[in-house]
C-alpha cells in the first residue's frame, strides 16, 4: 500500500495517459460535435421558418390596417342642391359640384392639375351618390362646410403602399397613369392621406372587384356565434363524457368502443367532419346552409375528442385520496365527483376547453363544405337569435375567400385578416396560460 509507483502492471496492458487524446478519440469527438450541430441546425431551421412566417404575415398584413382617405371641405348651398336635383343625372351633377370645389381648393394652394369627373370616379368611386345621400339624410347641414372623408380606391391605396407604381400600372377602367398626377397633386396639397382603416375591422365583405371596401367585421360576428355554439355544446358534453369514462365507466366492450372511437376521431381529417356536416345536418336534417349554427355543430363534433382527452387528463390528475375522503364521510360516488373532483379539475378543464376552442376558431376546411364561404358575409345578422341561423361566414373562411380571388388587392386583406385571427388565438392562449399558471395544483 506504500508503493504508489506508476509502472504498468504485469498484465501487459499499456497505460495511456488520460490527457493525451489519440486520433480515434479526436475523430469521435468531431463526430459528436457534428451530431450536436445537426440538432442545433434543426432547431434553428424550425425557428427560422417561424420568423419568416411571422415576418411575412406582419409585413404584408399590417398595411391592411391603413387606408388612403381623401378629405375635402365641401359646402353645398340650397340653390345648388335644388339645381342638382332638377337635372336628369342627379348624382353626376353632385359629382360636378365636387370636382369644381376640389379644383378650386387645389388652385387656392397654387397647385394646378387637370382632371375630370371620370378621374374622380376612378379615384374615389361614386362620389356624387355619397354626397347626395348624405344631404338627403341631413338636410340641416346645407350651407355649411362639411368635411368629407372619402376612401380612395384600392389601386390608389396600392400606389401609396408601394403595391402599384407608375412603371407597373396599366391604363384600365380602374386607374390610368394620368390619374397618378392628380394623386400626387392631392398629396402635395395634403388632401389625400393615410388613416386607420376602421371599415376593415368593422365592415363586411365587398364585391369581387372592390378590395378596398372589404372588411372582416361580419365574419368575426359569424365566428363568434359559432364559438357560442361550440362552447355551449362541447363543454357540457365533453365534461359529462369525461366524467363517465374516468369515474363511472365499467371495464367492458362498450367502454372500450367509446375509447377507441374518441382516440380515432381525434385524428380524423377535419374535411371529413365537413362531409359529415353536409350530409347529416344539411342534406338529412335540412338545417339552414351557411348558418353559424351548423358550423358550430360541425366544429363541436370536431373539438369534442380534444376536450374529452384534456378533461380526462385533468380528472386523472386529482388524486384518489380526495375521492376516498369524500366517500369516507358517506358521500355518494356522484356527490364525491361533483362536489370535490370536478371543482378541483376545473382549471385544467377550462384550459383544455379554451385550447380546443382556439383550434376550432382557426378551422377552415369543414366550413367550406357547409357553405360558410366569405361572400355570404355581406352584412350583420338582424338580431341575436338570427345570428345563429342567418347565412354568415367565419374569419378563416373569409380569409380563404379573399385569398382565392383574382384581384391582388384582396391579398392584403387576407393577410390583415390573419393578423386579426391570430390576435384572437393569441388572446385565448394567453388566457389559457394564465389560468394554468394561476390555478394549477401540484399534488
Amino acid at each position: 500500500m506504500t508503493d504508489a509507483s506508476m509502472q504498468s502492471p504485469e498484465t501487459g496492458r499499456h497505460t495511456i495517459s488520460l490527457t493525451a487524446t489519440d486520433e480515434r478519440t479526436q475523430k469521435r469527438a468531431r463526430a459528436e460535435k457534428r451530431f450536436r450541430s445537426y440538432g442545433l441546425a434543426a432547431i434553428g431551421t424550425g425557428l427560422f421558418f417561424l420568423v419568416v412566417l411571422f415576418t411575412s404575415i406582419l409585413s404584408q398584413g399590417l398595411p391592411a390596417f391603413q387606408r388612403t382617405v381623401v378629405s375635402v371641405d365641401f359646402t353645398l348651398t340650397e340653390p345648388q342642391r335644388d339645381e342638382a336635383e332638377g337635372t336628369l343625372f342627379k348624382t353626376k351633377a353632385y359629382s360636378n359640384l365636387f370636382v369644381t370645389q376640389l379644383s378650386k381648393e387645389l388652385s387656392e394652394r397654387g397647385i394646378s392639375v387637370d382632371f375630370d369627373e371620370a378621374a374622380i370616379e376612378r379615384l374615389l368611386g361614386k362620389v356624387g351618390g355619397t354626397i347626395r345621400s348624405f344631404y338627403a339624410e341631413n338636410p340641416g347641414k346645407l350651407n355649411e362646410p362639411i368635411k368629407f372623408d372619402l376612401t380612395a380606391s384600392s389601386r390608389v391605396d396600392g400606389y401609396f403602399k408601394g403595391r402599384v407604381s407608375r412603371d407597373t400600372i396599366q391604363d384600365s377602367r380602374f386607374l390610368q397613369k394620368s390619374d397618378l398626377d392628380l394623386v400626387d397633386a392631392l398629396e402635395e396639397a395634403g388632401i389625400i392621406k393615410q388613416a386607420f382603416n376602421w371599415p376593415f375591422i368593422i365592415g363586411a365583405d365587398s364585391g369581387v372587384d372592390n378590395p378596398g371596401g372589404a372588411g372582416i367585421g361580419a365574419s368575426v360576428v359569424g365566428s363568434f356565434f359559432m364559438m357560442v355554439v361550440v362552447l355551449g355544446l362541447s363543454l357540457p358534453i365533453g365534461v359529462a363524457a369525461s366524467i363517465y369514462l374516468e369515474e363511472f365507466a365499467p371495464q367492458n366492450k362498450f367502454t372500450d368502443l367509446i375509447e377507441v372511437n374518441i382516440s380515432n376521431l381525434a385524428a380524423v381529417p377535419s374535411i371529413v367532419f365537413g362531409i359529415l356536416g353536409l350530409a347529416v345536418f344539411i342534406q338529412f336534417m335540412h338545417l339552414p346552409q351557411s348558418a353559424p349554427l351548423v358550423g358550430g355543430l360541425v366544429l363541436t363534433l370536431m373539438t369534442l375528442p380534444t376536450i374529452i382527452i384534456s378533461t380526462r387528463a385533468s380528472l386523472k390528475a386529482v388524486p384518489p385520496s380526495i375521492r376516498d375522503a369524500a366517500l369516507g364521510v358517506g358521500a355518494s360516488k356522484m356527490q364525491a365527483v361533483f362536489h370535490h373532483v370536478l371543482p378541483l379539475a376545473a382549471p385544467g378543464i377550462l384550459t383544455g376547453t379554451i385550447i380546443g376552442l382556439a383550434q376550432a376558431l382557426g378551422e377552415t376546411a369543414p366550413l367550406l363544405l357547409i357553405g360558410m364561404v366569405g361572400f355570404v358575409a355581406r352584412g350583420y345578422p338582424d338580431g341575436f337569435l338570427a345570428g345563429f341561423t342567418e347565412p354568415n361566414s367565419a374569419m378563416p373562411a373569409q380569409i380563404y375567400t379573399w385569398a382565392a380571388r383574382a384581384d391582388v388587392g384582396f391579398y392584403e386583406k387576407a393577410w390583415g385578416g390573419i393578423i386579426i385571427l391570430l390576435m384572437f388565438l393569441l388572446t385565448m392562449n394567453i388566457i389559457a396560460i394564465i389560468l394554468r399558471r394561476r390555478f394549477e395544483r401540484r399534488w
Binding site: 450536436r36 434543426a42 432547431i43 412566417l53 404584408q60 359529462a240 363517465y244 380524423v268 359529415l276 380563404y400
Partner: protein, 490 residues
C-alpha cells in the same frame, strides 16, 4: 321560432316541477328534512329529470323523423309525368322543398298572404313572380305539380309541428305528475336521480360513437349512390381526373389515381422536410439542450403547431410559391411554371408538421429508460454514439408510429393543398409541377355549382371514404405501435 318557445315552456314546467317536488317532499316529512331519505333538492331534481328527459327526447326524435315522413308522403303525390327526362324524384323533391321554404319566407316578408300561399287554385306564374320579388331562390319555373306538392309539404309540416308541440307538452306534464306523485319521504330520490344522471353521462360519452356512425353512414350511403351512377372500377383504377362542368353529362372521367398520387407525393415531400428537422430538434432538445434553451425553444417550435392551416395555405400561396418561382422558375432554373406546385405545398406542410414530429418524438425519446443511456456512457460511449446506437434503436418503433401519425396528418390536410398545390390533377414525377390531392378535390367538387345528386358532386363522398379509410388505417396502426412501445418500458 316556435321550437324555441316550446323549449322555454318545457324548461319553465321543469323549474316549477323542481319547486313543487321539493316542497311536497318536505311536506310529507312534516317539514323536517331529516326525516327524508334524500336531500330535498334530490326530490326536486327527480321531478325535473322526469319532465326534461322524455320531453326533449321526444322533441329531438320528432324533429329527426318528421321531415322523412313528410318527404315520403309528398313524394308519393308527385305524378310520374311531372318528373322530366334526365331528372329524378329526389331532384324534384329538392325543388319542392325549396319552393316550400320560399313560400314560408315570402309569407314572412309579406309578399304573399297566407291564404294565397296555401290556395291550391292559385296562379303558378303569379306565385313564381312573387317569390322572385321576395328574393327567394327559385331555380326554374315552378310547375303546377311542384307547387301543389310544396303546398301540401307546408301543410303537413305545419300540422306535424303542431301535433309535436302538443305531444311534447303533454309528455312534460305527464312526467311532472308522475314525479310529483312519486314524491314522499320514503322515496329514494337520490338513487333515482343519480342513476338518471349516470345514464345522461353515458349518453354524452356515446356521442363519440354516434359521430363515427354518422361519418361512416354519410360516407357509405353517398358513396353507394355514386357507384350506382359511375362504375367503381373506373373510379379506383382510372388514370384521368377530368370532371365535366356542364352538370350531369356522362363525359366526366373520375379516376382517383392522379389524386392519390398527388396526395402521396406532397405528403412525402412534407415528411422529408418535417421528419429530419423534427427528429433532430427533438433529439437536441431532450438530450443536449440546457433547461433554459429547452424552455424557450420548445414552446416557440410549438407555436408552429398552433397556427391555423389557413395561415399556412396563404403562406404557401403568397410567400413560398413566389419565392420558389424566383429560384426555380423561368427567371432562375426554369423548372417551375407557377407558384403553386407539389414543392410549395409539401414544403409548407413540412413546416407545419415539424412541431408535430418533434413533440411526439420528444415524448418517445424521453420514455427510453435512463439506465439504457447510463449503460452506454459507462462503457465510454460519447453522447452521439449513445443516441444513435442505443437510444434511437430503442425508440425506433415509437418514432415510426409518430411518423405514421404525421403522415396521416399530411394526407388529411386540406387548406395548404387547396391554396398551394394547384388544381390540375396529373400523374407526374416533377415536384415543381402543380398537382392536386384528394382533399382539395373534395372541397372543389362540393363547393361548386354541381347538383348534389350528380356524379360530379357524389364523387366527393367516395373520395372522402377513401381518405377516411386511409387515415383511419394509418392511425390505428400507428397508435397500436406507440402503445406497444410504451408498454415495453412501463
Amino acid at each position: 321560432m316556435p321550437i324555441l318557445w316550446l323549449i322555454l315552456i318545457v324548461s319553465a314546467v321543469a323549474a316549477v316541477g323542481y319547486v313543487l317536488g321539493r316542497a311536497r317532499a318536505l311536506q310529507s316529512a312534516g317539514g323536517d328534512s331529516r326525516n327524508l331519505h334524500s336531500l330535498p333538492s334530490f326530490y326536486g331534481a327527480n321531478v325535473t329529470l322526469k319532465i326534461l328527459v322524455p320531453a326533449f327526447g321526444l322533441l329531438i326524435a320528432w324533429l329527426l323523423v318528421q321531415p322523412f315522413f313528410v318527404n315520403s308522403q309528398v313524394s308519393g303525390m308527385i305524378p310520374e309525368s311531372a318528373i322530366k327526362e334526365g331528372s329524378s324524384r329526389s331532384l324534384v323533391m329538392a325543388e319542392v322543398r325549396r319552393t316550400a321554404f320560399g313560400l314560408d319566407n315570402a309569407v314572412a316578408q309579406g309578399n304573399l298572404t297566407e291564404s294565397a300561399a296555401s290556395d291550391a287554385q292559385v296562379d303558378v306564374i303569379d306565385v313564381t313572380q312573387r317569390l322572385k320579388d321576395a328574393g327567394q331562390v327559385v331555380t326554374s319555373e315552378i310547375t303546377q305539380p311542384v307547387l301543389r306538392a310544396a303546398q301540401s309539404y307546408r301543410a303537413m309540416s305545419a300540422t306535424g309541428y303542431a301535433i309535436m308541440s302538443v305531444a311534447v307538452l303533454a309528455v312534460a306534464v305527464i312526467g311532472a305528475v308522475i314525479g310529483w306523485l312519486q314524491t314522499n319521504a320514503e322515496y329514494r330520490a337520490r338513487n333515482v336521480v343519480e342513476q338518471g344522471v349516470r345514464v345522461l353521462l353515458l349518453a354524452a360519452a356515446s356521442i363519440a360513437i354516434l359521430t363515427t356512425v354518422g361519418i361512416v353512414l354519410s360516407l357509405v350511403f353517398n358513396t353507394w349512390e355514386f357507384f350506382k351512377l359511375y362504375p367503381a372500377s373506373d373510379f379506383f383504377f382510372g388514370m384521368t381526373w377530368a370532371p365535366s362542368f356542364s352538370g350531369r353529362g356522362g363525359s366526366s372521367e373520375l379516376g382517383i389515381l392522379p389524386l392519390l398520387w398527388g396526395t402521396l407525393y406532397i405528403s412525402i415531400v412534407a415528411l422529408l422536410v418535417a421528419v429530419p428537422i423534427g427528429l433532430f430538434a427533438a433529439i437536441y432538445l431532450s438530450e443536449y439542450a440546457s433547461p433554459r434553451l429547452r424552455s424557450v425553444a420548445k414552446p416557440l417550435l410549438e407555436v408552429l403547431a398552433g397556427i391555423p392551416t389557413i395561415v399556412y395555405g396563404l403562406f404557401a400561396l403568397l410567400t413560398v410559391g413566389p419565392l420558389l418561382l424566383d429560384i426555380f422558375g423561368d427567371s432562375g432554373l426554369g423548372w417551375m411554371k407557377a407558384g403553386t406546385a407539389v414543392m410549395t405545398a409539401g414544403l409548407v406542410m413540412g413546416i407545419m408538421l415539424i412541431p408535430f414530429v418533434s413533440s411526439l418524438s420528444d415524448d418517445i425519446i424521453n420514455a427510453v429508460p435512463q439506465a439504457m443511456r447510463d449503460g452506454s456512457y459507462g462503457l465510454g460511449a460519447t453522447q452521439s454514439e449513445t443516441i444513435r446506437q442505443v437510444v434511437l434503436p430503442a425508440a425506433l418503433p415509437g418514432i415510426v408510429g409518430a411518423i405514421l401519425l404525421a403522415a396521416s396528418r399530411a394526407i388529411g390536410e386540406t387548406m395548404i393543398v387547396v391554396l398551394g398545390a394547384g388544381a390540375a390533377a396529373r400523374l407526374s414525377l416533377n415536384p415543381f409541377e402543380a398537382m392536386t390531392t384528394v382533399t382539395a378535390k373534395i372541397v372543389s367538387q362540393l363547393t361548386g355549382d354541381a347538383d348534389f345528386a350528380s356524379p360530379e358532386a357524389l364523387v366527393a363522398f367516395a373520395l372522402g371514404m377513401t381518405l377516411f379509410i386511409l387515415t383511419l388505417g394509418l392511425n390505428v396502426f400507428a397508435l397500436y405501435i406507440v402503445r406497444k412501445y410504451r408498454e415495453q418500458y412501463e
